[in-house]
Structure formats: C-alpha cells, structure tokens
C-alpha cells in the first residue's frame, strides 16, 4: 500500500510531514515536485490538490493536503495510541491549539514577514517583524515549565513548529534569544527521530535557496 508524498525539501510544512513519518517509522514514497517549472499547476496535480500546494500526501490513492491535517492523519491511521497525537480529548485539544497557533499565528507571521523579501524582493517590514517577535514570545510562554510545546511528550505540534522555526535560521530573526524556545529547539533536535535526515537536510536546501534568491 503505497504512501506517496509530493514535496520539496526546503518547504517547512513538507519537513513536518517527513519528521512525523520518521517518528512513526513509516516509509513514504517521496515525489519531488518541480515548482519552478509549474508541475504543481498541471492537471494531474490539480486533481489531487486544487490548491496546488506542497505537501500533498496520497495514501493508496486517497489525497490529503495541508501539512497539519496530514501529520494528524498519519498518527490517527498508523500510530494509534502514540503520544505523538494523544487520544485523550483534553491532551489532544492542547496539541490542536498549538497546531492552529502555528498555522494561524507563528508560521503565518514568519511567512508574512520573510516570503515577500525572498520571493518578492520587498524590503523588511519592521511592523511585521514585531509581530513575529510577539509570536515567539508567546511560544516562549507556552514552553514555560514544560519540555515540549503541548506538555511532557513530543507531539506532532513540536514537529510542525520546529520545521517552521528552524526555517527562521535562514532569516535575520533571532529566535534563540528566547530562553525557553532555545532550550526546546535543542531538545527537539536531539529527540525527534531522524531529525538530521527529516529536517536538517531540507533546511540546508531552504537556506541555499534563500541565499540564491537574495543574491539576485
């Protein structure tokens, strides 16, 4: 039963899926999408994802997109009982809240600040940077007195957020000045299974991309 992942290595949401699959010991058939040549806009891709984003997972013919829906699906389907996405409603709710914080606040503000610079040649916007810093302060608060973002165990919320926050290293955002964030980052790097292969490799690709875009 093939589980295909359409991805690009630099993309943080794609790396969140890679981290989750690795944590579940799940093999994915990796399919590189040539965004540069518009492969994601072709009819075959639009059929599995009309929003033409990456990542897209196709599980035995069934397509799913939105990274945070993919990673929770992978645990629900292949990791029942795993602490990565606990079944208890309250514990699960905390993970969900962190995931929505990620897509709606933290990663969104990073994208709003950084992507216009690297993809649109726009100058850095101080107000947008302030919003990213506010989000990092919140993350720092969430981590007060706990090892991971949603409690004592590594969850998909950590994997999603670390994929995004690690991308900040390609920018001028100094997230390590927040003590809890810095501590958590080092923890996840050393405890998330296969972190080097699943995230660090792709992060290097993202940094290389950013360097080449900013040189123009």
């Amino acid at each position: 039963m093939p589980v295909d992942l359409y991805y690009v290595p630099g993309s943080a949401p794609c790396r969140a899926v890679l981290l989750t699959a690795r944590a579940l010991n799940l093999n994915l058939n990796l399919k590189l999408v040539d965004l540069h040549h518009g492969e994601h806009l072709k009819p075959e891709y639009l059929k599995i994802n009309p929003q033409h984003t990456v990542p897209t997972l196709v599980d035995d013919g069934y397509p799913i997109y939105e990274s945070r829906a993919i990673i929770t699906y992978l645990v629900n389907k292949y990791g029942k009982g795993s602490a990565l996405y606990p079944e208890d409603p309250k514990a699960r709710a905390l993970v969900d809240q962190r995931l929505y914080f990620d897509i709606g606040t933290l990663y969104q503000r990073f994208g709003d600040y950084f992507y216009p610079q690297i993809f649109g040649g726009a100058p850095a916007d101080k107000d947008k940077l302030a919003k990213v810093e506010d989000a990092l302060k919140l993350l720092d608060t969430f981590l007060e007195g706990q090892k991971y973002v949603a409690g004592a165990n590594l969850t998909v919320a950590d994997l999603s957020i670390v994929a995004g926050v690690s991308s900040f290293e390609a920018s001028d955002i100094d997230f390590k000045k927040y003590a809890n964030v810095k501590r958590w980052y080092e923890t996840v790097k050393s405890t998330a299974p296969g972190y080097q292969e699943a995230n660090e490799k792709g992060l290097d690709a993202f940094k290389a991309l950013v360097n080449s875009l900013l040189k123009k």
């Binding site: 009309p50 929003q51 599980d59 069934y62 799913i64 997109y65 939105e66 945070r68 829906a69 993919i70 929770t72 699906y73 629900n76 389907k77 409603p89 309250k90 699960r92 709710a93 905390l94 969900d96 809240q97 995931l99 929505y100 914080f101 897509i103 709606g104 606040t105 969104q108 919140l138 608060t141 969430f142």
Partner: protein, 241 residues
C-alpha cells in the same frame, strides 16, 4: 443577543442529552466571547448542536477586557473565544470545536473518527484558518477597524480562496462530505459576514448552494440569532459612504 434565552435553551438541551445517559461537563463550560466575533459564533453554534451548556462571559475586546491580568493569566494570547471547562482552559475556535465533539459528542458525525474522513475535515479547518478566513480578514479588517478603503488585490485573493472552496464543494452536500461537520460551522461564519457586507460571491455556484443548505441545517442551532445576528453587528462597523 439575549444571553438568558440562549442559556435557557442550552440548559434544556443539556438536560435532554443527560437524560440519554451522555457524559456532559459537571458545570456549564465558560465561554469568553463577543457576539460579533466570527470564531465565537462557530463555537456557540457547535455547542448548541451538541447540547453543551455554555456560561457566556461577555468579553469586550474593544474595551480591552481581554488584556486584564486575569485574562492574560488564563490565556497569554488574549484572544476570544476562550473556553474554561471546569478548569481546563482552551482557545483557538477550531481546537475548541474539535474538543467539544471528541469529549462530548453523542456520536462522531460532526467530526468523524475515521482517519480519512477526519483528515478531510482537518484539511478544511486548516484551509479556513490559513487561507479563506485569513484572506477575508486581510480585506475586511482594515475596512472594519481602520476605516481604510476596499482593496482590489485583497478582494482578488479572497475570490481565489472562494474558488478553491467552490471546487472542494464539487459533488458534495457539505464541505467534508454528505453530512454537516465542524468544518461547515467554521467556514459558514465567513460567508455570513460576506453576505452581511454585500460582497458578491454569486459566481461561486457551489458555495451559494452550500451556504443556503448550511443555514437551514444550522437553523435549530441558533443560526439566525448567533451567526446572522453577529454578522449584522459587524456590518454596522463598515464605513458608510
């Protein structure tokens, strides 16, 4: 909106649910809210659909009631809606709605347990927060709260998101399948706002039909008073030329 009326109806729903032997919260769940807030409206309609008793706590963010030391201690992100279920604090409307079904749903129809069906609901919820509702806010927040003019580029991005929603609705009665789910309840509040603001979404035929269908389905759960009423309050903030 009449708080007492809503509370009485909730209490009756809750009693009915209890009589069927369902687990329900020991005390009503506190919901910190404001009537025009779209995500608050979603949570309230979901509670009604599940027969969950809410104790509504008016939190006027326009007067900084979300930034008191007590509120920030409870929710450092100082957003509404925030829920307090007998000491269990939660915010993010879509996390609250998911929690309501997971913890108190009589069945899983509003948020199916089947992994594939659930993934579809989750994708729609993420699309809502990350794309549709975001683009709605990018267009309307400057107009509603900063007196700025209509931005054509922002409107185009919103239309693109509505087009994607239109495609997602192809061949489906509701956004994630044959039945109403929390994804519909999350997304409908944005359409209620667009309708109240006079935004023309008529080109998106599936969206138009789904909107009418969802309104009818949510009628017994307070659509008119909670959602439509809230949207009209928001519409009154739009600068009148």
């Amino acid at each position: 909106m009449d708080k007492t009326v809503v509370e009485k109806i909730n209490a009756a729903n809750n009693a009915a649910a209890r009589s069927k032997g369902n687990r329900m919260p020991t005390q009503p769940i506190k919901l910190y809210y404001l009537p025009p807030s779209p995500p608050c409206r979603s949570v309230m309609m979901t509670a009604r659909a599940l027969g969950i008793d809410l104790e509504l706590v008016l939190t006027n963010i326009m007067e900084g009631q979300h930034k008191t030391p007590e509120y920030i201690k409870m929710n450092p992100q100082h957003t509404i809606p925030t829920m307090d279920d007998n000491g269990f604090i939660l915010w993010e409307s879509r996390a609250i709605m998911s929690y309501f079904v997971n913890a108190y749903g009589r069945d899983d129809s509003l948020y199916p347990r089947n992994p594939r069906q659930r993934a579809l609901v989750d994708q729609r919820l993420n699309f809502d927060l990350g794309t549709l509702y975001k683009r709605y806010m990018d267009l309307y927040v400057p107009m509603l709260f900063k007196g700025e003019a209509y931005n054509d580029e922002a409107a185009e991005k919103l239309n693109e998101a509505l087009d994607w929603l239109n495609i997602m609705l192809g061949g489906r009665a509701f956004v994630a399948g044959d039945n109403l789910t929390i994804a519909d309840i999350s997304i409908v509040v944005t359409l209620s706002n667009l309708e109240a603001f006079g935004f023309d979404y008529s080109a998106h035929e599936n969206v138009v039909k789904w909107f009418e269908r969802t309104k009818k389905t949510l009628e017994p759960y307070g659509y008119a008073e909670i959602d439509q009423g809230g949207a009209h309050i928001l519409a009154s903030f739009l600068k009148k030329e």
